[in-house]
C-alpha cells in the first residue's frame, strides 16, 4: 500500500464554479486506474491537486497514507495534457534538470536519463535541442521526463494523443512494465478506446462529480449484456424497421457491420431474425456488454439530468421560456 493514491471527498472551487465536487476514489499499485470524463469534467483540476500544484478546499488526498505535499511530489511523475519542454535546451541536459528538480542526485539522474533514452532508441538525440526534434520524438522525451525519477505514482493525461500507432504500442508496453513493477498508474482521458484496452479500474467524472466507478469488468457488467453486433455481407437495410421503431439504438453502422443497443423490450433474437429476413450472409452475431463510450454517454446524460433536477433548471424546449 505504499503507493496507493486515495482521494476522499475532495472539493475545489474556482470563484463561483465548483470544479471538483466531493470526489473520492482509490488507485492501487500494480493496477492501471482510468480517470475518464468529457472535457471540463474536472479531471485536470483533480490531477493538479494530486500533484500538489493546487490545494483542495475540502477533503484529503494521500499517497501511501501520507498527505500530498512537496515531499510526495518527488514520488510522482506527471505528464500533462498540454505538452511542453524548454525549446532551446538540449534533451539530455533538460531531462537531467527535470529529474534533479524531482530530487534526484546528479549522477543518478544522468544514469537514469541514459538508460531511458536507450530504451526508447533515442540515445542519439541527447545533445539535440528540443526544438530540433519532431513532435513524436518530443513526446517520447516528455514521457521520459515523467518516469526518469522512478516515481511510485505515474499520472498520464491523454498520453496517446498525437502518437502514431507504433509509438502508441511502445507506450502501451512501457505502461505495462510500470504496472508489473508495482507502480500506480493513473490515466486520464476522454477517449474510450484507449481506456478499454488498458484499464483495470475506472472512475467516470462529469461536472465535477464521480458518476461511475469500479473495476472495468464490474462497470460494464452493471449495464448488462444489452448490445448486439452483427457482421454481415449484403444490404444493411434489414435494420431500418427495428431502428425506426425505436426497438434498438444504433451505435455504429457501417457497410457490413452494425452495433446496436437493445431497447428495454427487445430480445437479441429479434435482431438476428431481422438480419436473416433481410437475406444477408451473416459472418458474426454477438451479444455483449455495451462499449465504454456508450456507457459513458449514458452516464453523463444521466448526471446532467440529475444536475438539472437539483438546481431546478428546465431541460430544453418550451419550458425554458417560462422559467
Amino acid at each position: 500500500m505504499t503507493s496507493a493514491l486515495r482521494l476522499e471527498n475532495v472539493t475545489k472551487r474556482y470563484g463561483q464554479t465548483v470544479a471538483v465536487d466531493g470526489v473520492s476514489f482509490e488507485a492501487e499499485p500494480g493496477r492501471l486506474f482510468g480517470l475518464l470524463g468529457p472535457n471540463g469534467a474536472g479531471k485536470t483540476s483533480t490531477i493538479r491537486m494530486v500533484t500538489y500544484i493546487t490545494t483542495p478546499d475540502a477533503g484529503t488526498i494521500t499517497l501511501g497514507g501520507e498527505p500530498v505535499g512537496p515531499a510526495t511530489q518527488a514520488r510522482m511523475g506527471y505528464l500533462p495534457e498540454e505538452r511542453g519542454l524548454y525549446r532551446k535546451l538540449a534533451v539530455g541536459e533538460q531531462l537531467v534538470y527535470l529529474a534533479r528538480l524531482k530530487g534526484m542526485a546528479e549522477a543518478d539522474a544522468k544514469a537514469a536519463v541514459r538508460r531511458w533514452l536507450d530504451r526508447f532508441d533515442a540515445g542519439a538525440w541527447a545533445g539535440k535541442k528540443t526544438e530540433e526534434l519532431s513532435k513524436g520524438q518530443q513526446q517520447k522525451v516528455q514521457f521520459i521526463s515523467t518516469v526518469v525519477h522512478d516515481p511510485s505514482l505515474v499520472i498520464l493525461d491523454e498520453p496517446f494523443s498525437g502518437l502514431d500507432p507504433i509509438n502508441a504500442d511502445l507506450l502501451v508496453d512501457v505502461i505495462g512494465e510500470l504496472r508489473e513493477a508495482g507502480r500506480t498508474v493513473l490515466f486520464a482521458s476522454h477517449r474510450m478506446e484507449s481506456v478499454e484496452a488498458l484499464c483495470d479500474d475506472l472512475c467516470l467524472m462529469a461536472n465535477g462529480r464521480v458518476v461511475l466507478s469500479g473495476t472495468l469488468r464490474e462497470v460494464k457488467r452493471r449495464f448488462g449484456r444489452d448490445t448486439v453486433s452483427v457482421a454481415f455481407d449484403g444490404d444493411g437495410g434489414w435494420l431500418d424497421p427495428l431502428a425506426e421503431a425505436g426497438a434498438v439504438r444504433v451505435l455504429n453502422r457501417t457497410e457490413g457491420l452494425v452495433t446496436v443497443r437493445l431497447g428495454e423490450a427487445t430480445a437479441p433474437r429479434e435482431v438476428l431474425q431481422a438480419a436473416l429476413g433481410g437475406g444477408v450472409e451473416i459472418d458474426r452475431f454477438e451479444v455483449h456488454e455495451p462499449p465504454l463510450s456508450d456507457i459513458f454517454r449514458q452516464a453523463v446524460q444521466g448526471a446532467g439530468e440529475q444536475g438539472r433536477a437539483r438546481t431546478g433548471a428546465p431541460a430544453t424546449g418550451a419550458g425554458a421560456i417560462d422559467a
Partner: protein, 421 residues
C-alpha cells in the same frame, strides 16, 4: 541542492552560454567608447573654413580678416547685395557681412547674412569677431591706449575646484555630471533589460506549457525566485564584464584619441581616459554603491515583471503591460538634471531615499556630491524592505497566474489573486 538554487543555476548557465550574451558583452563597451570618441574626432577634423564676403564701409575689413583668421576666409567686395546673396545661394560663399559707415560710432547696424542650412552655429563666430573689432575701434576712438585695450581683453586665470570630504578636485564638476548621466543611464538600462528577461522567461514557460510540469516538482515561489536570482546573476556578470572591458578599452582609447586629436592631451601630455583621470572622478565607493543599488532595484522590478508575465499567455499580450511597468523606472530619469544640480535639496534627498527612484537617483547624488553614509544606508534598507514586500506580492500573483490561460485578467482580478492566494 536546494531547488531554488538549482533553478537559478540552470537559468544562469542557459543564458550565459548563449551567443547573445557574448555579443552584448563585447558590443556595448565598444559602442559606448565609440559613441564618445567619434564625435570628438569628427568635431576636430570637420568644420572647415567659411568663405565670407565683406561689404565694408566702416574701414574694419583688415581688422576683421585678422580676427577671423583660421575660421573664415574673407574677401572684400563692392558688389551689390543681390549679387552677393545669389553667390551665397549658389554655394560660392558661406556668408555675407555688411559693415555700413557709422558702425563704429554706433549710428548704424552691421548685418551678417548666412545660409539657413548652416544651423545654429552659423555666423556666430563672425558675429563675435565683429563685436570684438568694433569695440576695439570704439575704445581706440574714445582714447584708450593699446596697453589699456590689451589689459581689457586679457585672459583671466580662474580654476573651478570642487570641495569634498575625500579631497578637493580641480575641474571635476563637469566630469562628475557626466558620470552621473552615464551611471544613471546604465542603471536604467540594466534594470530594464534584465527585468524584461525575467518577464520573457516567465511567459515562455507559460506559452510552451512546461510550467505545469515544473509546478508539479517545485513550489511556484521557488521557480520565481530561482529565475529572478539566476537572471540577476547574469546581470551582475554582464556588468562586471562590461566594467572590465570598458576599463581596458578606455586605456587603449586614450592613446587612440591622442593620435587623432593631439589637443586632447592633458597637462602632462598624458592620454585622456587614463587610469589617473578616471580614478579621480570614479570613486570605488561609488562603484560598490552602484552594484548594490542595481541589485536592489533589479530585485524590486524583476519580481514585478515576473508577476506581470504570469498574468499573460503570450509575448504579444505583454506589450501593453510592459508600458505600465516601464514607467516607474523612467520617472527617475526625468528628475536627473534636477537632482544633479540640487542634490542636497529636499526633493533630491527624498527621491534618493524613495525605493522606486533611489537606485538611479541616489547614485546620481553620490556622483555629484558627498552623501552622508547614513543616508545611503537608509536608502539601501528601504530598498531592501521594498523588494521583500514586492516579492511577496508578486509571488501571490505568480502562483495563480502561471496556471491560468485565456483572457487577460483585469487589475481587480489580479488584486483578488493577491488576497486569496
Amino acid at each position: 541542492m536546494n531547488k531554488t538554487l538549482l533553478i537559478a543555476k540552470s537559468e544562469y548557465l542557459r543564458r550565459v552560454r548563449s551567443k547573445w550574451f557574448a555579443v552584448a558583452t563585447l558590443a556595448v563597451p565598444l559602442l559606448a567608447i565609440g559613441v564618445f570618441l567619434l564625435p570628438m574626432i569628427a568635431f576636430s577634423s570637420g568644420g572647415g573654413v567659411d568663405r565670407v564676403a565683406i561689404v565694408d564701409d566702416a574701414g574694419l575689413a583688415d581688422a576683421l580678416a585678422e580676427a577671423l583668421q583660421g575660421r573664415a576666409a574673407v574677401e572684400e567686395s563692392d558688389a551689390p547685395l543681390d549679387t552677393l546673396r545669389a553667390r551665397v545661394l549658389a554655394d560660392e560663399l558661406d556668408g555675407v557681412l555688411v559693415l555700413p559707415a557709422g558702425l563704429v560710432e554706433g549710428d548704424a547696424e552691421a548685418e551678417v547674412r548666412y545660409l539657413s542650412r548652416g544651423g545654429l552655429d552659423a555666423g556666430d563666430g563672425v558675429r563675435g569677431a565683429v563685436r570684438e573689432v568694433v569695440r576695439r575701434a570704439r575704445a581706440g576712438a574714445a582714447g584708450a591706449s593699446p596697453a589699456a585695450l590689451a589689459a581689457y581683453e586679457s585672459d583671466v586665470a580662474l580654476r573651478l575646484v570642487t570641495v569634498s570630504e575625500s579631497g578637493d578636485e580641480a575641474d571635476a564638476a563637469v566630469g562628475r555630471f557626466l558620470l552621473a548621466n552615464v551611471l544613471s543611464l546604465l542603471m536604467y538600462l540594466a534594470i530594464l533589460v534584465f527585468g524584461m528577461m525575467v518577464m520573457r522567461g516567465v511567459i515562455e514557460e507559460k506559452a510552451n506549457r512546461i510550467v505545469e510540469v515544473i509546478a508539479s516538482s517545485v513550489r511556484p515561489f521557488e521557480l520565481m525566485m530561482g529565475k529572478v536570482l539566476g537572471i540577476g546573476a547574469v546581470g551582475l556578470s554582464q556588468l562586471l564584464a562590461w566594467g572590465a572591458l570598458t576599463f581596458g578599452l578606455s586605456l587603449a582609447a586614450g592613446p587612440l584619441l591622442l593620435a587623432f586629436v593631439p589637443e586632447a592631451a592633458g597637462d602632462g601630455g598624458e592620454a585622456p581616459f587614463g587610469p589617473e583621470a578616471v580614478g579621480a572622478i570614479v570613486d570605488p565607493g561609488l562603484l560598490v554603491a552602484f552594484v548594490l543599488f542595481f541589485l536592489g532595484g533589479y530585485l524590486l522590478y524583476s519580481s514585478l515583471f515576473a508577476a506581470v508575465g504570469s498574468a499573460v499567455d503570450q509575448e504579444s499580450d505583454a506589450q501593453s503591460l510592459q508600458t505600465v511597468v516601464i514607467l516607474p523606472i523612467m520617472i527617475p530619469l526625468l528628475f536627473l538634471s534636477f537632482v544633479a544640480s540640487d542634490p542636497d535639496g529636499g526633493l533630491g534627498v527624498f527621491l534618493s531615499l524613495f525605493p522606486l527612484t533611489s537606485p538611479i537617483l541616489m547614485v546620481v547624488r553620490m556622483a555629484v556630491t558627498d552623501v552622508p553614509v547614513w543616508q545611503v544606508a537608509l536608502a539601501l534598507a528601504l530598498l531592501a524592505a521594498a523588494f521583500v514586500g514586492m516579492i511577496a506580492l508578486a509571488a501571490r500573483v505568480y502562483r495563480v497566474g502561471i496556471l491560468m490561460y485565456g483572457k487577460k485578467p483585469s487589475l481587480a482580478e489580479l488584486w483578488r489573486w493577491v488576497r486569496t492566494a
